[in-house]
């Protein structure tokens, strides 16, 4: 029985060595990818465009007067679409600047904008006075674009109204 175990042990050692050789072969493929990941993680380029855009939006919101009881109309924030001439132009939207929310300081690598209907009272929470320029929906809510990070936390919000027709100033 001891002899059995000795041979078994020798077989274990041989298998371990074979596996180490296989691991070394695998490492040649894997290691460059891991080092690339390591470089990417410490690269200053990581917080790229979206966080920069968010930062600019937040700065704009703060500088633009968080407490101002007026709307800051940012007409033309969206580039005009190059539609076919015979297609009706989409309605122009009038928006506030992005206003920072509670998690605005948290870093993010990616984000998306989600459009929601929020209570009209949300405007007051941002120091905005609901005036005629703000158009409520039939249910008494207003439209808001919420900037949501890839972690699911909302970073900023802007309020939206749709103009009645392109080129119409409210």
């Amino acid at each position: 029985m001891t002899d059995d175990l000795d041979r078994l042990q020798r077989a274990f050692r041989a298998i371990a060595l074979d596996d180490a050789a296989d691991a070394e072969r695998a490492a040649r493929r894997i290691e460059p990818a891991l080092l690339a990941e390591m470089r990417a993680r410490r690269s200053p380029e990581r917080p790229r465009s979206i966080s920069r855009i968010v930062g600019l939006a937040m700065a704009a919101a703060l500088v633009g007067g968080l407490a101002a009881p007026v709307w800051i109309v940012t007409r033309g924030a969206r580039p005009p679409r190059a539609e076919a001439p015979n297609v009706a132009a989409p309605p122009v939207e009038i928006t506030t600047s992005f206003l920072p929310l509670a998690y605005s300081a948290m870093p993010l690598t990616d984000a998306r904008v989600v459009r929601l209907e929020v209570p009209r009272t949300a405007l007051a929470a941002f120091g905005l006075t609901p005036i005629d320029a703000v158009e409520t929906t039939r249910t008494g809510t207003v439209l808001a674009d919420v900037l949501v990070g890839d972690d699911g936390l909302a970073r900023a919000v802007r309020f939206v109204r749709a103009a009645r027709a392109p080129g119409v100033t409210p």
Binding site: D4, R10, A14, A16, D19, D22, A23, A27
Partner: protein
């Protein structure tokens, strides 16, 4: 330089430190991945384990075990996540069921050349119940001590000992079963 120091340097962006840590532990991680998750998945599992390390550098707690055990713990989770199965179910570690598994008369290795023996043992390991196989991979192939293996397997040290004992008995029995007249001798 010990592993903890290497981890510190990796946190500071030292690629050489990462290469050194990878070289030290890749074989153990690969072995576990290959024997527990399948040879075809081993490369991907190894990559996932070290990527997880890079992403969670601050998660390692030296007071809870070695870097090697930490990496094998990640490997274990990766393997079971991929197989969509729970970790090896607890086996009857207290019963005396090994007697039926002891080798019959004669030496099961006598008729096998060394290379054949290695391949037979490898194949036999693959057929072991996962909990026994895990004990063999950690203690025999990776040469971990019982305490470290127990930490990786998340079970008492006594359980590791009994699983290993039964695994050896099962392997001997499996090899004995294929001996009679089934093997060509190459000496």
């Amino acid at each position: 330089m010990d592993d903890s120091r290497l981890l510190e340097r990796i946190r500071q962006g030292d690629e050489n430190a990462f290469a050194e840590l990878f070289a030290r532990h890749r074989a153990a991680v690969f072995r576990y991945a290959a024997h527990m998750g399948g040879a075809g998945a081993a490369d991907d599992i190894v990559q996932e384990v070290f990527l997880a390390l890079l992403r969670q550098l601050s998660h390692y707690d030296a007071s809870r075990g070695s870097v090697g055990a930490y990496l094998l713990g990640i490997t274990r989770r990766q393997v079971f996540k991929r197989s969509a199965a729970a970790p090896p179910p607890p086996l009857d570690d207290d019963g005396d069921s090994t007697s039926a598994l002891e080798s019959p008369d004669g030496n099961p290795f006598d008729d096998l050349s060394r290379a054949e023996t290695v391949e037979r043992v490898r194949a036999a390991i693959a057929t072991l119940p996962a909990a026994y196989r895990e004990a063999v991979v950690l203690c025999e192939l990776n040469e971990l001590d019982y305490a470290t293996a127990a930490a990786v397997m998340d079970c008492p040290v006594g359980t590791v000992r009994s699983r290993l004992h039964r695994a050896r008995a099962l392997l001997s029995a499996k090899l004995a079963a294929i001996r009679p007249g089934a093997v060509t001798v190459h000496d």
